[in-house]
């Protein structure tokens, strides 16, 4: 494979960021990234997400290169953005935090003191990481499929990978040092040390010219204020049960989150994580026991929680003009009511009442007074007039519906035979194990007690 020309890629990234646009509905051009750069320049936005779909539209081979060598291109992107940002600044930005002030002062001092012609020691110049106040993330192509953890193999190392799973553990969010800043106690000059791994060795001896030439042996002291930290969180994720082959144990994976992708997920969340799969470099004693081993992790670029509600995507949730028209008709109330349990004929009055029950709730008035907005309904009727079907409509939880049946069976008595419950529930279309589960659930809640032989329950 031929080596890519990074300088050329740099140029095309620059063009992409400043010129990529999409046409909106009115036919106007929208500079997707240009507008984001303005926000970045004004410190109104921290994370800029590059959609690889867009990049691929612009330059397909570049997008592929980004996927294959993600970490490097993330660096290039962030350098390019840092270069571009000053030109996007439209107004003076006021400092938001201590680091902003710090950077501003250093830049001013630098301009004043230094001779621009003078060559400077690399370590004494400001590392670009210190100045960047934004983060770059990649959004994988929409065609990219989410892998299960066991599909991620050595060939994925260094690549942008998407993994699906469940979060089992997460650490608290801690500050992680990105650039360590030191001051010398002799010459007062500042030294910077960019940190790229999980640990670093502090510098002690001042490398500045003054100290070196004078052999002053200046000691360096770490400056917390001048150092740059990012938020850092470690997640453990595990495969979904449907991704585990028969007879195997679910696999897990470490995900490291930095900056804006922290605090996105909690244990128990189902997530899709896109990130770069990388080997972890341990040092010191850990290397000793694991010298032969290398751990791997996923450097997260994007974390999405998939909850049940997200099954409906945004596009489907939006109403089309036709639907709107349909809904705007006069008999809206009746239409909604009839669409409740359409399999049950008639009973429009009951359905209307149930509809109101569904949309009702406690209404809080602006003056703070609570006005009761909910209603309670008691359904009575002969057997087999679809009372429980209507109930099922409102209570999706089967246990609660079975509970309602048991309550009904009990009447005013305290004990009910489990056999009776089973009979009634099966006629209503429940499965025996659902009934069992309900009986156990409510026993745990101490609503009732089941006798030893599991023949009857007694209400507490």
């Amino acid at each position: 494979m031929a080596r890519r020309d990074y300088a050329q890629d740099r140029e095309s990234i620059k063009t992409f960021l400043s010129e990529f646009c999409k046409c909106d509905d009115d036919g106007k051009k929208q500079f997707v990234y240009g507008s984001q750069l303005v926000k970045l320049a004004h410190r109104e936005q921290v994370l800029i997400t590059i959609d690889l779909d867009d990049l691929s539209e612009f330059n397909e081979s570049l997008a592929e290169a980004v996927i294959d060598n993600c970490r490097r291109y993330a660096g290039i992107f962030s350098d390019v953005i840092a270069e571009l940002l000053p030109s996007y600044k439209q107004q003076e930005v006021h400092a938001k935090d201590a680091l902003d002030v710090y950077i501003e002062h250093r830049l001013m001092m630098d301009a004043r003191v230094r001779n621009p012609m003078e060559q400077r020691d690399d370590r004494n110049s400001f590392p670009p990481e210190l100045m960047k106040r934004f983060e770059v993330g990649f959004k994988p192509m929409s065609t990219e499929k989410a892998h299960s953890i066991r599909e991620v193999k050595a060939q994925h190392i260094g690549k942008l990978t998407t993994v699906r799973g469940i979060v089992t553990r997460c650490t608290e969010v801690k500050p992680m040092m990105v650039v360590a800043t030191y001051t010398c106690d002799r010459c007062g000059s500042e030294t910077y040390q960019p940190v790229s791994s999980l640990s670093f060795t502090p510098v002690h001896d001042c490398p500045s010219d003054d100290c070196r030439v004078n052999k002053a042996a200046g000691r360096l002291y770490l400056q917390t204020r001048g150092s740059k930290f990012v938020k850092f969180q470690e997640l453990k994720m595990q495969e979904h049960s449907d991704q585990v082959p028969v007879g195997h144990i679910p696999r897990s994976m470490t995900v490291l989150c930095r900056g804006e992708v922290t605090r996105m997920a909690q244990p128990g969340d189902h997530v899709v994580v896109s990130g770069v799969f990388l080997p972890m470099v341990r040092s010191g004693f850990a290397q000793m026991i694991q010298g032969l081993l290398s751990e791997t992790y996923l450097q997260a670029h994007r974390i999405i929680c998939i909850n049940k509600n997200d099954d409906i995507s945004d596009k489907e949730a939006e109403l089309t003009p036709d639907e709107l028209e349909e809904l705007a008709q006069d008999d809206f109330y009746e239409r909604l009511a009839t669409s409740l349990a359409p399999e049950i004929y008639g009973h429009l009055d009951v359905k209307k009442a149930l509809l109101l029950l569904l949309v009702g709730g406690v209404d809080k008035r602006p003056d703070g007074m609570k006005i009761r907005g909910n209603i309670n309904i008691c359904l009575m009727g002969d057997p087999g007039v679809a009372k429980s079907q209507l109930l099922g409509l409102h209570v999706p939880n089967t246990s609660d519906r079975i509970f309602a049946i048991v309550r009904e069976l009990a009447g005013s008595g305290k004990a009910v035979k489990i056999g009776d419950i089973m009979d009634r529930c099966t006629t209503k279309g429940f499965k025996p194990d659902q009934v069992d589960k309900c009986i156990d659930d409510y026993e745990e809640l101490n609503v009732w007690q089941v006798n030893m032989g599991r023949t009857k329950i007694t209400f507490m």
Binding site: E234, L292, L293
Partner: protein
């Protein structure tokens, strides 16, 4: 980092092998005598084995860890600038002499993948099985011979060397131990509050009352062939380097101390084995195991025909079951049952048996005594008295502990063909707490579908198991079962119970016992066919059965099929015939009659 590995012990151990092609080694191991000659780690005290020697470990896969990426080959730079390549396969630590360092960025480094399996010795293995397996294991003094089986000339020399080395090697290991504990304690005092995990937790025996031995086996190939709970015999290199212990290292800076400890327990507690040859075991019976060298006396006993052994065994069981012939037949069928096929929802071949209606007067000791007889016959079994306390407190199904990333075992995590005997006569009045209810559910699920639900907190995963369950109860059991058989106790036999049990024990001479043991395992794994013509006969019978009794359903037919299969196998047949089928229908009819005769009051609603 120099590891304390360049000891004399390595010189004739692994290096000797790793220089050669592993496939050549495997070829060597195909010879069963070579396989036999390797000492079993299960029955050899660790201090008798040297680091990096060939050992064998037999056990059940209890847990699987995440894959490891390791350096298969790496470049080592010496202080004088020279370079050499070192193999990392079958090693835990870097192999460096003093002054040498590893070059992580060398072009010639090769990465490989390996998996760690957490293997425990077969849970519930009975005493006789252990004893027999122990006898099959060669003593480590033979070790040096096995190391160079193709090098007969050198053998005597090696022998001597091994003898010489042995003594100081022992002391060496001991010293290492001491060092390990020393640094451990010093580490403890410096660290604020180290959470030390108990050895019981680390070893993770499924049956806490009968502790297993644990071993971490690293495998290098065929990763997908390893299934949870299956029985495997590994051959590999022992690795007991003390630096593997997480307790010896400075743990500052690690967030998950307990996880580190769980993944790096002391190698003297849980040794590591780097496996390069593997045999999957179809059963746990050492008498029929080709991977074990049978002691000379065992094979001497004459093999009688299956039918006569079957007759003897049935007699014995009848003696133990209050002279009840039918019960003896059912129990025998139960003892040779095994799940032989699984369709979507069903596990075909299971034969869980509930023997109920046990006579009250002899109840107290009877169940344990019956189990004592079964224990002698079966390679692995477990007796569980279902007291309220055990039900409410014991761990039944395995549960994932995310703090330590371990699958904490439960009582039901048993190897295939491990018989579980549940004694319900110990159940008293009282309240089953949530753990107890859960335990009952797990048991019911196990009996109904031969699956074990492992709790991964966020979801549960079903694992296939093959555990025949025998429930002993006074009335009908609260647990479901495939066959409920009320026992027809002969009044005289009840009185004579003690004598007959004594007679049974007396009858079980070693030679006869061996026969029974072999017979049971052979019957369990033997194939059985149903021919076309008999399928039609069965179909016709089922139609008639439905005519006679509208209530009979597919489950009844299924029960009949399983029973006839097992009856046939027990009689040494390998295909169904009319006779066996009729026998099965007859037995089922008798059983049904007894069930109906069972007083209604003891029949409980929930089945």
């Amino acid at each position: 980092m120099p590891c304390p590995m360049d000891m004399p012990s390595t010189s004739n151990g692994l290096d000797h092998y790793s220089q050669r092609d592993p496939s050549e080694l495997k070829e060597l191991l195909k010879d069963s005598t070579a396989w036999h000659a390797i000492p079993l780690l299960n029955y050899t005290p660790l201090h008798k084995l040297k680091d990096q020697t060939l050992v064998r470990f037999r056990g059940m896969i209890q847990d699987m860890m995440d894959p490891e990426i390791y350096l298969e080959r790496y470049e080592v730079k010496s202080s004088d600038g020279s370079k050499r390549l070192q193999h990392g396969q079958y090693h835990d630590c870097l192999k460096l002499a003093t002054g040498e360092s590893i070059d992580y960025n060398a072009e010639s480094n090769v990465h490989g993948e390996r998996r760690t399996l957490f293997v425990v010795s077969v849970p519930g293995l009975n005493d006789w099985t252990k004893e027999h397996e122990g006898k099959c294991s060669p003593q480590p003094k033979l070790l040096s011979q096995t190391q160079s089986p193709n090098n007969a000339k050198k053998r005597t020399l090696d022998d001597q060397e091994a003898m010489d080395v042995e003594d100081d090697n022992d002391t060496l290991l001991k010293r290492k131990c001491v060092e390990g504990t020393k640094s451990d304690s010093s580490g403890n005092s410096s660290a604020a509050a180290p959470a030390v995990l108990g050895s019981e937790y680390l070893i993770n025996s499924p049956l806490p009352s009968r502790p297993s031995m644990a071993c971490m086996v690293k495998v290098y190939e065929d990763f997908d062939s390893y299934k949870l709970n299956s029985l495997v015999d590994f051959v590999g290199f022992l690795s007991v380097d003390p630096s593997l212990d997480a307790a010896t290292i400075d743990t500052e800076g690690f967030d998950s101390l307990s996880e580190l400890q769980a993944t790096h327990p002391s190698p003297f507690l849980i040794p590591r084995v780097h496996a390069f040859a593997v045999q999957h075991l179809p059963h746990a019976n050492p008498l029929l195991d080709k991977s074990l060298q049978q002691p000379a006396d065992a094979s001497a006993s004459e093999d009688l025909s299956q039918t006569s052994v079957h007759k003897d065994l049935r007699m014995l069981l009848k003696l133990c079951l209050f002279d009840d012939d039918l019960a003896a037949e059912y129990l025998l069928s139960h003892l040779i049952s095994s799940v032989y096929s699984r369709s979507e929802m069903q596990s075909i071949g299971k034969f869980s048996l509930n023997i109920c209606n046990l006579p009250k007067e002899s109840l107290a000791q009877y169940t344990t005594k019956l189990y004592q007889v079964l224990e002698l016959l079966l390679p692995a079994s477990h007796y569980l008295a279902m007291t309220l306390e055990t039900m409410n407190t014991a761990a039944f199904a395995p549960k994932k502990d995310y703090e330590t990333n371990k699958l904490v075992s439960g009582m039901l995590q048993l190897a295939p063909h491990t018989h579980l005997v549940l004694d319900e006569t110990y159940m008293q009045q009282g309240k089953l707490e949530s753990n107890g209810v859960l335990a009952i559910q797990h048991l019911a699920h196990l009996i109904n579908s031969q699956e074990l639900k492992c709790d991964f907190q966020y979801y549960q995963i079903d694992y296939h198991v093959n555990i025949p369950v025998l429930v002993l109860s006074e009335g009908r059991s609260m647990l479901p079962s495939d066959f409920v058989l009320p026992i027809n106790a002969d009044a005289k036999a009840v009185e004579l119970l003690d004598e007959s049990l004594k007679a049974a024990h007396h009858y079980l001479q070693p030679a006869r016992l061996q026969q029974f043991r072999k017979y049971l395992t052979l019957a369990r794994i033997s194939p059985f066919n149903v021919s076309e013509e008999h399928t039609e006969m069965i179909q016709q019978d089922f139609v008639d059965m439905r005519k006679a009794n509208a209530k009979s359903n597919a489950d009844d037919l299924h029960g009949l099929l399983v029973l006839s299969r097992l009856l046939g196998i027990a009689r040494g047949k390998n295909a169904l015939d009319k006779e066996t089928w009729q026998l099965a229908t007859e037995f089922e009819a008798k059983r049904r009659q007894r069930l109906q005769a069972l007083p209604k009051s003891t029949v409980q609603l929930r089945n």
